[in-house]
Symmetry: C2
Subunit: 282 residues, 2 copies
């Protein structure tokens, strides 16, 4: 009997370690002007979206990333009505934001092909992309945001890793534009890489944010398909104190009141790298 | 030029997913009466101990597992003097326990070859195995513990996955013996597998523990080389209320006061599976 060798997805997290996923079926594979986009089916994680060979999201574990990117900031805001999502073309972040009675959500994604592929092949993630409160702009967010003043309650940066097209999204110039685009009680959140693999990047993001924002918090969540299975998020405000102000939406699978408080507890090896910059809110 | 194909370690966490680590050098590989023991060198995680092809510990990330297995219980106990470690042949758990002014620690490991290999090849982990307060018993802990009454302040179960030699260590009979071996204010802790991959096992452990112990807590920690990078721990008491009673040792790299409280915050997908059995202590 000849055993069939299945195609395998491999992602190196260091030159010496990484994850593998079997590719049961490739649903989409194309090069956009910005990156290589692939969606394949895996027997454990369901459909998997990769950009330039890095897992962005999977049907099985996307709820952790998207809930944790969105809800800590949303429940902390006194009145989240107008939200900007930078990146997030798969729609998962928009889906979570739209669980609140927001009035207007802008999604600025540089790569329209990510949006179209997600609409077609990731229906449970992209489900909210047709919500009438959402406006999609296929543009470079670093330019789109320039000159905007006191406009948003929340700016959520749901970017790829800060190399390639997303490099500008961790730049100090971009952070200054986000600051100015936020209202006085506004909140910015940005995905901030893996404490196990990217402590230097985490510190760089924190340094640049803290040059611009007076208050900076950090929290973490366990996401199995991201490097090390562990991810950091940075949350910055113009002075707003973090506390629970909005009811938590029903039906969430990761985020809850205990997690809201507990997620800001940083392990010592991470805290030691950012303690001069980051404040624990609780 | 011929490129050299390096040997690779692969661990399947499901039939469709897992991690790979390059094997820079194999330091030890032998079959004991109980299991296949291997220690190899990896360029990112340092030396890696595997038993029957599953990562038990690595030099780089072992501090997270060992600190989180030991310190939440140690700091909660009014006076931790006599401690039993079940398994833990690599010595990492003993090293953490011995950071407190305990009087007597018993380590009951079924496989003497794990102890010897760790002494030789994992010096930073096994460093405390020669502490004069430690007594090592190369025996089956399920038998060793039988008939012991009101003897220990803490029982810490640092076992392999509950298949093969460690299966009895999640049995109700063993839990009853642990209960009886503990003093009235005693605490039991047991590593409880991955919320991303082993929710059924987590529930089984919780069900059996809660048949025996009146109070059961659960907490988690992110450990990159374990399945999904995320691990659960169960903590059971005869009635003792969990609160900080001991000073936290200096020099820890993961555990701190914020983590002590935050780690017990369970994500909803895990809480939903154990909420009839597990109580949040804070």
């Amino acid at each position: 009997m000849v055993s069939e060798q299945k195609e395998e997805y491999r992602e190196y997290h260091s030159p010496h370690s990484g994850i593998f996923l079997t590719k049961e079926r490739i649903l989409f594979k194309e090069r956009s002007p910005y990156q290589e986009i692939e969606i394949f089916e895996n027997g454990f994680f369901g459909r998997v979206l990769t950009l330039d060979g890095l897992v962005m999201t999977t049907e099985r574990d996307e709820f952790i990333y998207h809930e944790m990117l969105v809800h800590p900031a949303m429940v902390s805001h006194p009145s989240p009505e107008k939200v900007l999502i930078v990146g997030g073309g798969d729609g998962g972040t928009a889906r979570e934001v739209l669980k609140y009675p927001v009035k207007e959500v802008h999604l600025v994604e540089i790569d329209g092909m990510v949006i179209e592929a997600s609409r077609k092949y990731l229906p449970t993630i992209s489900s909210a992309l047709d919500d009438e409160r959402l406006r999609i702009h296929v543009e470079d967010a670093t330019k789109w945001i320039e000159g905007r003043r006191d406009e948003f309650d929340l700016v959520i940066v749901d970017s790829t890793d800060p190399i390639g097209p997303a490099e500008g999204l961790i730049g100090e110039a971009f952070f200054r534009n986000v600051f100015q685009s936020l209202k006085d009680d506004g909140i910015m959140v940005i995905q901030s890489e893996s404490p196990h693999y990217h402590l230097d990047t985490i510190r760089t993001i924190a340094q640049r944010l803290s040059k611009v924002f007076p208050i900076l918090h950090m929290y973490t969540a366990p996401i199995p398909t991201y490097p090390g299975g562990y991810w950091a998020f940075s949350m910055a405000t113009k002075g707003l104190r973090i506390e629970e102000r909005q009811p938590i939406p029903q039906g969430l699978k990761y985020f809850n009141r205990s997690i809201y408080r507990g997620a800001f507890a940083l392990p010592t090896f991470l805290k030691d790298r950012v303690k001069d910059l980051v404040k624990e809110p609780f």
